[in-house]
């Protein structure tokens, strides 16, 4: 499979505004995840979380292809998707710290952040759970006559769930404006795709549903953006769904309990050399799109933004329990809609 060249013109690394945005987004994701890791290690955050360090390229490159009123569904490893779609760092951090000001008022935590203002229809704690939902949202937009596209993020593990196959088939027969993005990070928890999948590429599965499938280097932001932009254009133009597989790697364990028994230090070290952020910084500097001082400024700003989010979130009030019974059902007959 090869990367499809697309309508995204000029390419991300050649356009100073896009390059700034992409680099800032990737650094915000990286620093957010590191802050979460640190807070957890120091006992200042409870629960569990799934960090996406090393996968910033696919989330950022994909969301760059979308309009604000386009929608996404995300996964348990979803902080990067939320940030790339434009979520507030402070409200995300507040949620992870169990605060009333968090996206879910402390009811959801790390795996359940949704943000209708930025078209985020929600992360999901169930592997493949968001894929049919994305398909349904795409059906809604099509029936409403809107030209919105939905992106569904999921991992390699999800592509072995029935929900993946049912949703891709529905999207294909109904020609829905949805792009399925498989972030193949090589492991479903501990189980390697070497053993869990018999096809050479997960994108090959697209053929079974009569839709295009493409595999790209997920740590190459430009490649991701090119492929996803082509798929989004096709979906928006009425051409139906596509499957994009972004090959990437998570540096950290699956969750907090992971002892990395299923992979070698050498493998991790090898992938750390393919850091999508370092790679993009090198590219934009070589092309003269951004200078080292501009890059450094972006890094500093990301660090400041995360520090601010942690401080502000810590100062917020804890989640309230007094109205918890009233939170189970929606009380009004007004339906939330994703708005631009």
């Amino acid at each position: 499979m090869t990367t499809t060249q697309t309508t995204a013109d000029p390419r991300v690394g050649d356009d100073p505004d896009k390059a700034r945005h992409v680099l800032a987004t990737m650094w915000r994701i990286r620093r957010f995840e590191e802050a979460v890791d640190d807070l957890f290690a120091r006992g200042l955050m409870h629960g569990t979380m799934h960090l996406s360090i090393g996968q910033e390229g696919s989330a950022t490159g994909s969301c760059l292809s979308l309009r604000t009123d386009d929608a996404i569904t995300s996964t348990h490893r979803g902080h990067g998707h939320c940030i790339a779609k434009g979520a507030s760092l402070e409200r995300m951090m507040a949620e992870l710290l169990g605060k009333e000001t968090g996206y879910c008022r402390g009811r959801g935590g790390s795996m359940h952040i949704a943000d209708t203002a930025t078209g985020n229809l929600g992360a999901n704690g169930i592997v493949a759970g968001g894929i049919p939902i994305a398909t349904g949202a795409a059906l809604a937009y099509k029936m409403q006559g809107l030209d919105r596209v939905v992106v569904s993020f999921f991992g390699d593990g999800a592509s072995n769930e029935g929900a993946f196959h049912e949703a891709l088939n529905l999207a294909a027969i109904w020609k829905l404006p949805v792009v399925f993005i498989c972030e193949n990070n090589k492991y479903g928890m501990s189980f390697s795709t070497e053993f869990s999948v018999a096809v050479a590429h997960i994108a090959d599965r697209a053929a079974a549903y009569g839709m295009p499938g493409v595999t790209v280097d997920g740590n190459d932001v430009e490649a991701v953006n090119d492929a996803v932009s082509a798929a989004v254009d096709r979906a928006r133009g009425g051409g139906g769904p596509s499957l994009v597989e972004a090959e990437t790697y998570r540096w950290k364990g699956h969750s907090k309990s992971d002892k990395n028994l299923y992979r070698t230090r050498e493998e991790i070290a090898e992938w750390r050399l393919k850091d999508p952020i370092v790679r993009f910084e090198k590219l934009v500097k070589e092309r003269g799109t951004l200078s080292e001082s501009e890059v450094q400024q972006i890094r500093d700003e990301a660090m400041q933004a995360i520090k601010h989010a942690v401080v502000a979130a810590n100062q917020a009030p804890d989640a309230r329990a007094d109205d918890i019974l009233d939170s189970v059902f929606a009380a009004t007959t007004i339906v939330s809609e994703v708005t631009a």
Binding site: C104, G129, G136, A140, L170
Partner: protein, 342 residues
């Protein structure tokens, strides 16, 4: 029938009657006419008209876009409905047999039920899932279950069991209005039963129990197909001088328990009837509510459950009727309950 003939022959106040399945269909048609966001999806709901004939001519009236045939893909169907609902539509999913909800449980239980709460109120899931339940058709264990207690046990789902054509329409309209996921369980044996159904878009509110009959001696609580059977039993008991109150909760979640507790307080005797197996069934909840209320002190006899046996629904007709409450068994249980001296 034509209206002209009716007007000529019947007085103006004549009750309009229709079958339960016609009432469901009328509710869907009225909701779809009133609101572009409402659409229906499911297996064979289109030109086939639904496995039980419920969607009937809706495909011809509303077209393939809004009466949407789906592949045999329950998880995908329900997931698509959840997604459409969060994105501003009002889907009505038909699952061909309620047993097949097992294929879609992740989307029902982990997604639809929890999204509003878990996401801090950021999204609503205004979705209706209709499914036929129950035994009596010789379809055996995988096409005959009554799984209402499962759904009622999950916070975030509303669960409705209409027992009459009027409620089949009124409760469905209310379910479609509701901004939450609502599971509507329709008993197969009721589809062909007839009854009065009001003209127009009259809603039966969710969370209001119906007192079907009032009597001083005994309170019978029954759900779904058992409401009719309980009413027949009550008529037979009346001939023996036993007057029963019959209460149909109609919505299992939210439950309107007050009329049940009030009635039991007055009669001192409670008999709880369901088709589903008794063990950890919905009527166990009703029994617990009675026991947790002051009605307990007024009981003249232990609470009596009359339920399906704790077995899968068998095939042979004699076996099938043997494992769920029948009229004679309900009458016998009520008679026994009346004989208990406190």
């Amino acid at each position: 029938m034509t209206m002209t003939d009716q007007t000529l022959e019947a007085p103006a106040t004549a009750e309009r009657t229709m079958t339960y399945s016609e009432a469901v269909r009328e509710a869907i048609a009225e909701a779809m006419t009133a609101d572009d966001r409402v659409f229906m999806l499911g297996e064979d709901v289109g030109v086939y008209g639904g496995a039980f004939g419920v969607s009937g001519d809706l495909y011809g009236r509303f077209g393939a876009d809004r009466i949407r045939d789906t592949p045999i893909s329950e998880l995908g169907i329900v997931g698509a409905a959840v997604g459409a609902a969060v994105a501003g539509m009002r889907p009505i999913v038909e699952i061909q047999f309620s047993d097949f909800t097992c294929q879609a449980m992740d989307q029902i239980v982990n997604q639809a039920a929890k999204i509003h709460f878990m996401l801090g109120g950021e999204l609503n899931v205004p979705m209706v899932l209709r499914a036929p339940v129950g035994s009596g058709t010789g379809a055996a264990a995988q096409h005959s279950q009554s799984l209402e207690a499962w759904f009622a046990h999950v916070p975030g789902l509303k669960v409705v069991m209409p027992s009459s054509p009027a409620d089949a329409k009124g409760l469905l309209l209310a379910a479609i209005d509701d901004p939450n996921p609502v599971i509507v369980l329709e008993h197969k044996l009721l589809y062909r039963t007839s009854g009065h159904v009001p003209e127009g878009a009259e809603r039966t509110p969710l969370g209001v129990s119906a007192v079907r009959r009032e009597g001083k001696d005994l309170t019978i609580v029954a759900t779904g197909v058992m409401v009719g059977r309980a009413m027949e039993a009550a008529a037979a008991l009346s001939e023996k001088g036993i007057e029963a109150t019959v209460i149909d909760p109609r919505t299992l979640t939210p439950l309107d328990a007050a009329p049940i507790l009030d009635s039991v307080t007055r009669t001192g005797r409670a008999m709880l009837v369901q088709e589903a197996p008794g063990h950890v069934g919905y009527m166990a909840e009703i029994a617990a509510r009675i026991c947790e209320s002051p009605a307990l002190y007024r009981l003249l006899a232990p609470v009596r459950r009359v339920c399906g046996l704790d077995v899968p629904i068998p095939y042979a007709p004699k076996l099938e009727t043997a494992v769920v409450p029948q009229l004679d068994g309900i009458i016998a249980a009520a008679t026994e309950l009346m004989e208990v001296q406190s």
